[in-house]
């Protein structure tokens, strides 16, 4: 078994802490889950546990940021998106404060805890906030690049993480910024734009489609906002068909972002969105839960085959 993304994240925070003394890490009584506990252990003076109080957490981070510190705020993605929304919008984003929001347990990855803990609207909420950038890494490598990028920004950045293992993709070309779309396979029949763990599913789906004689172009979209609309449009202009795949409600996330960007360019295209339909999820083992809520390589294949 490989390392979970949260483990890689926790360790990487420690690495960053070694060279950047302005980085402070904060948590809301879930550091043993988010793995910010590693940083807490390594640099106790630069770690703040605010208890189960996500709203307070974010504004305390804002205060730290006003004085030149670089807070990395950790909490469950759903509680950052829902309990700290006012603080993120009216204090972090409005004032362009450089705080990194690390949303742990993104998507359905907190599978057994159930609907109350599964984060299916965070991307939509964060994306709607002016000036807030939104990144969803697909593997540990992208997570590190996303964190490096976020710590270099002048304003707030939301990074959505997963609790579980994320199969490692081929490493990104160094010249390709994390904000850019990465093309993983080339094909002329359908574009599959995926984010987070759905990128690995999209690659599997592309293989199955190839067996059916259909060539899929798989795009790895780490940065949902700002969206690399040029790369997306270039692909869809060629294929005319787009399937988006995300561990999120189909409302307001990657699928919506792509649809908006392409429609504004006047591109004719046919769209299918793989994601959670407009309903609440539930408890269960991760893989089966994803499949039940329509997120799987098979679902991507089905949707792709239905339009091309």
């Amino acid at each position: 078994m490989g390392e979970t993304m949260r483990d890689s994240f926790g360790k990487y925070l420690v690495d960053i802490g070694a060279t950047r003394s302005e980085v402070v890490v904060m948590d809301a009584d879930v550091s043993s889950s988010t793995k910010s506990s590693y940083f807490a252990k390594a640099y106790p003076d630069r770690f703040f546990n605010l208890g189960v109080a996500e709203a307070n957490l974010v504004d305390v981070a804002a205060g730290l940021a006003t004085a030149g510190l670089r807070p990395v705020v950790n909490a469950f993605a759903i509680f950052l998106a829902l309990k700290s929304t006012d603080q993120i919008r009216n204090v972090l984003a409005y004032n362009s404060l450089p705080v990194v929001l690390a949303g742990a347990y993104g998507g359905l990855s907190d599978s057994f805890d159930g609907a109350s803990h599964q984060s299916i609207e965070d991307v939509a909420i964060m994306r709607a906030i002016p000036g807030l950038q939104v990144l969803v890494p697909a593997d540990a490598g992208e997570m590190r690049l996303a964190l490096d990028y976020a710590l270099g920004q002048d304003g707030p950045v939301y990074i959505r993480l997963t609790r579980n293992e994320a199969p490692a993709l081929a490493s990104r070309p160094e010249s390709l910024a994390i904000t850019k779309i990465r093309k993983l396979t080339s094909g002329g029949d359908v574009t599959i734009a995926a984010t987070g763990l759905c990128v690995a599913m999209a690659l599997q789906a592309a293989e199955s489609l190839r067996a059916q004689g259909k060539n899929a172009e798989v795009l790895d979209v780490t940065c949902i906002k700002p969206l690399d609309a040029d790369a997306l449009a270039a692909s869809v202009a060629k294929t005319g068909h787009l399937v988006t795949a995300e561990e999120h409600t189909v409302i307001g996330g990657l699928g919506s972002a792509c649809a908006e960007a392409l429609s504004e360019r006047g591109l004719p295209f046919c769209l299918k969105r793989v994601g959670v339909a407009d309903r609440f999820t539930e408890s269960g083992p991760y893989e089966r839960l994803l499949a039940k809520y329509g997120i799987s390589a098979e679902a991507i294949v089905r949707q792709a085959a239905s339009i091309c």
């Binding site: 948590d27 009584d29 879930v30 550091s31 043993s32 889950s33 506990s37 546990n49 605010l50 208890g51 189960v52 109080a53 709203a55 307070n56 759903i78 509680f79 829902l82 309990k83 057994f112 805890d113 159930g114 609907a115 109350s116 803990h117 539930e282 408890s283 269960g284 083992p285 089966r288 839960l289 039940k292």
Partner: protein
């Protein structure tokens, strides 16, 4: 005789005998919760075990309810604000007659009515869905205000842990209860001193909690009660009944992970899966506690 503990407890009129019966029952519930959590390899042991005696006392002694009519509008309400103690709530509800106990084995399964955190639209007897901490007291205030408006005399009980009290909303709710003084609202604090990442003292000190509650307009029961001692829980209820004004609060000293010595008071056992070795080492302790309690009611 085991099967009859529930019926015997419900029928018992002598309070000390009833407390002994409920102590035995609660010890059995703890054992059952431990079994299910080990079998499922998911779910929160620490806060289920700490609150087990209190919730057992509520459903088998204190609350007015009818398991056959879960939505009876005159029933007393219970809001488990620390919703991660769902295994406890489900176990008590099942044995109180809300649904068949074998269903407990489906805890957290796909398609199960027993969600990771309580869901009022899936599980009979659950009065409010919880899981995101911090909501319970507010909802309790609303329920108690509804009783007043609808001229009902049902009572509302809300249970929180210290972590749950970290949330700012909890204090907004406490303040609003101080303003509206809703009749019938009781706050039960499962004060096990430990939250997810460590002790409350390390994570977010809450003391002096009783004084804070009083300052917010609550009437706090006079003593710190042992929430893992059924007789003391009964005493706390008498103390609550002797108080005149609402809202009321009671603080219970409990042990997180109660009943398994090497798990007690350890944040590591807040929600970690119970591995085979720990299960085998811990279960005999729960069994002997149950047998001791049972011997008292033979």
């Amino acid at each position: 005789m085991n099967q009859n503990l529930e019926q015997r407890a419900l029928a018992e009129k002598d309070m000390p005998s009833k407390a002994r019966l409920l102590a035995a029952l609660s010890n059995r519930f703890r054992m059952e919760i431990f079994d299910v959590l080990h079998k499922k390899q998911t779910g929160h042991w620490g806060g289920s075990a700490s609150a087990c005696d209190i919730v057992t006392a509520l459903y088998f002694h204190r609350m007015r309810l009818d398991p056959l009519v879960p939505l009876w509008e005159d029933r007393d309400r219970f809001v488990l604000s620390k919703g991660h103690a769902s295994p406890l709530l489900y176990t008590v509800l099942a044995h109180r007659g809300y649904f068949p106990p074998p269903l407990l084995g489906s805890f957290r399964d796909l398609d199960s009515s027993l969600q990771g955190h309580p869901c009022m639209n899936k599980t009979p007897g659950v009065d409010m869905s919880t899981g995101a901490l911090g909501h319970g007291i507010s909802v309790g205030v609303g329920m108690a205000l509804a009783a007043r408006l609808k001229q009902k005399n049902f009572k509302t009980y809300v249970m929180v842990g210290e972590g749950c009290l970290d949330e700012g909303q909890s204090w907004e709710a406490l303040m609003s209860a101080g303003k509206f003084k809703p009749w019938g609202l009781t706050l039960l604090v499962d004060n096990n001193d430990v939250q997810l990442d460590g002790t409350s003292r390390e994570i977010m000190p809450l003391e002096p909690l009783g004084d804070k509650l009083r300052a917010f307009g609550w009437n706090v029961a006079p003593a710190l009660y042992d929430g893992n001692n059924m007789q003391d829980i009964f005493t706390s209820f008498e103390a609550l009944d002797a108080m005149e004004f609402w809202p009321k609060a009671v603080l219970y000293k409990t042990a997180k992970g109660k009943g398994v010595s090497f798990m007690e008071g350890k944040s590591a056992w807040h929600g970690a899966p119970i591995d085979k070795d720990s299960y085998e080492a811990g279960r005999p302790e729960l069994v002997s506690a149950f047998e001791r309690a049972l011997a008292e009611v033979r």
